[in-house]
């Protein structure tokens, strides 16, 4: 999979490229809007990450021109500005997602994966699996090593989210947003307490612990 990164700040570009390559992506980089647009049209990429503030051609204009050429490349916008208008403008211009700086790299990754999944029209799986853990999404039931585990609706949703991002770190903020529809990170350990409860139910009585804590970043199920 190849990602096109259009970002003018060298340090930011540097860590994004590094992170993406670590995840196994191939990355092309342009540091201004003009070159970025050229690359997007000429080369074959699977997705693009575009910064809003770019020299020569700004991010939103770039996307407009891209869509004008009939190119349906999935695009994620990065912006340091938090105004609602910015987000709306970007999405209206044809972007598929929007992420505000500073962001957790794990979140960027999760969103890129979501974009790629959507682009390749992957059918929504009926079951999510990890080791001996099985989630039946239709009937909303959880089994581990054959035994059914009772989970409350939000606990199920949390486990589902972790499973969908299997092998990738999800931050507390991401969990808050996707599972509880809260887009901020409360100071206290609400998420930690939730994870603790979940662990009690699906990890405690089993040898292999699936849910791991990654200090400073979040949690991962693998």
């Amino acid at each position: 999979m190849k990602i096109l990164l259009i970002e003018d700040d060298p340090r930011t570009a540097s860590f994004i490229i590094k992170g993406l390559r670590q995840e196994g992506f191939a990355v092309d980089h342009a540091d201004n809007g003009e070159d970025g647009l050229h690359l997007a049209i000429e080369t074959q990429c699977d997705a693009a990450i575009v910064d809003v503030m770019l020299p020569r051609v700004d991010g939103v204009t770039l996307i407009e021109r891209l869509r004008g050429e009939g190119i349906g490349l999935p695009v994620l916008i990065l912006s340091a500005r938090s105004s609602v208008e910015d987000r709306v403008r970007g999405l209206q211009a044809g972007a598929d997602d929007y992420l505000m700086k500073p962001f957790a790299f794990s979140e960027l990754l999760a969103r890129i994966h979501a974009l790629l999944r959507r682009a390749h029209a992957q059918a929504d799986p009926v079951n999510l699996l990890a080791e001996d853990l099985q989630l039946d999404l239709i009937r909303r039931r959880v089994f581990r090593a054959g035994t059914e585990i009772e989970l409350q609706p939000k606990e199920f949703a949390l486990l589902e989210y972790l499973l969908r991002n299997k092998g990738r770190v999800v931050s507390k903020a991401m969990i808050m947003e996707h599972v509880w529809d809260y887009n901020f990170d409360p100071q206290t350990n609400v998420v930690e307490a939730r994870i603790c409860r979940l662990r009690d139910k699906i990890d405690r009585d089993f040898e292999r612990k699936l849910i791991k804590t990654v200090r400073g970043m979040g949690y991962v199920l693998e």
């Binding site: 938090s82 105004s83 609602v84 208008e85 500073p102 939000k154 509880w180 529809d181 809260y182 887009n183 901020f184 990170d185 409360p186 100071q187 206290t188 350990n189 609400v190 307490a193 939730r194 603790c196 409860r197 200090r215 400073g216 970043m217």
Partner: protein, 455 residues
Amino acid sequence: MRLTLRYGLVSALFCTAVFYLVSVRIRTAMIHQVDDLLTDELHECAIIYETQGMSGLVEEFLRETGATAPDELFFRLVSVKGEVLKSSDLTQWAGIEEELVSAAIPNQGEYRHVTIFSHDHPLNARLASLNLDGRVVLQLGLSLQHENLSHLRTRQILLATSLAMIGLSTLAGYWVARQAMTGVRRVTRTVQGIHKSNLNRRVPSGTEGREIDELASAFNQMLHRIEALVFELKEVSDNVAHDLRSPITRMRGIAETTLTGAPDLTAYQDMGLIVLEECDRLAEMINTMLEIAQSESGVLVMEESDVEINSLLRNALDLFQPLAEEKNILLLSDLPESEVVLRGDKGRLQRAVANLLDNALKYTPANGSVHLACNTTHQQVEITIGDTGPGILPEELPRLFDRFYRGEKSRSSPGNGLGLSLAKTIIQSHHGDLTVESTPGQGSVFAISLPRPAK
């Protein structure tokens, strides 16, 4: 001054127009009076002619003209073709002959009135003609000298009056303008004297009238807004200077000491983690501070939608349930069954409620309880969050919602002191209010009140 001049000009034009019209009307009325007189006279003459014939008529004439001065009244008997049959002494009426000739002859039984002017004679007269029987036309002329004199006198009076009126009204205009301008000048001076050091000054209302007071009031409102904006700006700058530097200090410190120490993988990992944590803390503080500042100064743009309060509260309870259990705190709720819908920014309202619940759980000790309740009246929704924590000291209550304020009992707990500030400003921007009551040693109750939309 220009105002007065313009006003004076306008009133002068107006006066002139009015008085011209009056003058014309008076003259017309005078002429009508004369015409009526002449018509009556002609009518009488017609009767005499019918009864006494030509001779009787001539006799009447001679009698009439004998009684009056020759330069006042004259008569002529003319044939329909224009031949003069008989006329009175027209010596005083030099130059009038031609006019008389060209004066139109009316048809039988008809009257005609016309004003005659003589070129070399200063007099003019009103001529009335009557066609007596189709052959003879009787013409009576009455001098207009009296009327002219009256009219002249009238015009003189009118002129004097209008000059006086223009003069007086200009004076009055000047006086009124001065009054208004004094008020405006007063407001201008006051506002000019306001700069960044005395933004709390306001324009006092005066005696120059309602419009000036309205002007002063509008300025005061604007000044109030400017004061609020400048205050927010200062606050944010102060906050930036003070509280945002702490995480930076920590990050820098740990990075520097780690890098100058012996190379150690674990140490580097720790450094990385600490930098991550502090960055997240910093980002959160920046975002929250900006949000508060924007909200307080009125520049925040909220996303409005229909918000169902009950489900919002239930969601919040669900979120905090495990945490409460962990700390052995009983989380109670008292929510109405029916839906309660308000217009507002869902994300921000969620945040306000979460901040308050967060607070309550943070400061309530084990085995305590936190109680979330919602009451609705016709006009408002009241959400209360009560806890059995240590309470808040009365002297701390007024400052509780200040930014970065940490009370005595909370200094050791994690948090940046922005939670309550943000909650309060969010509620206020929804036109509601956040208040607190507390008994030290027993607990506190935070109350959110939000207005309901009128049905």
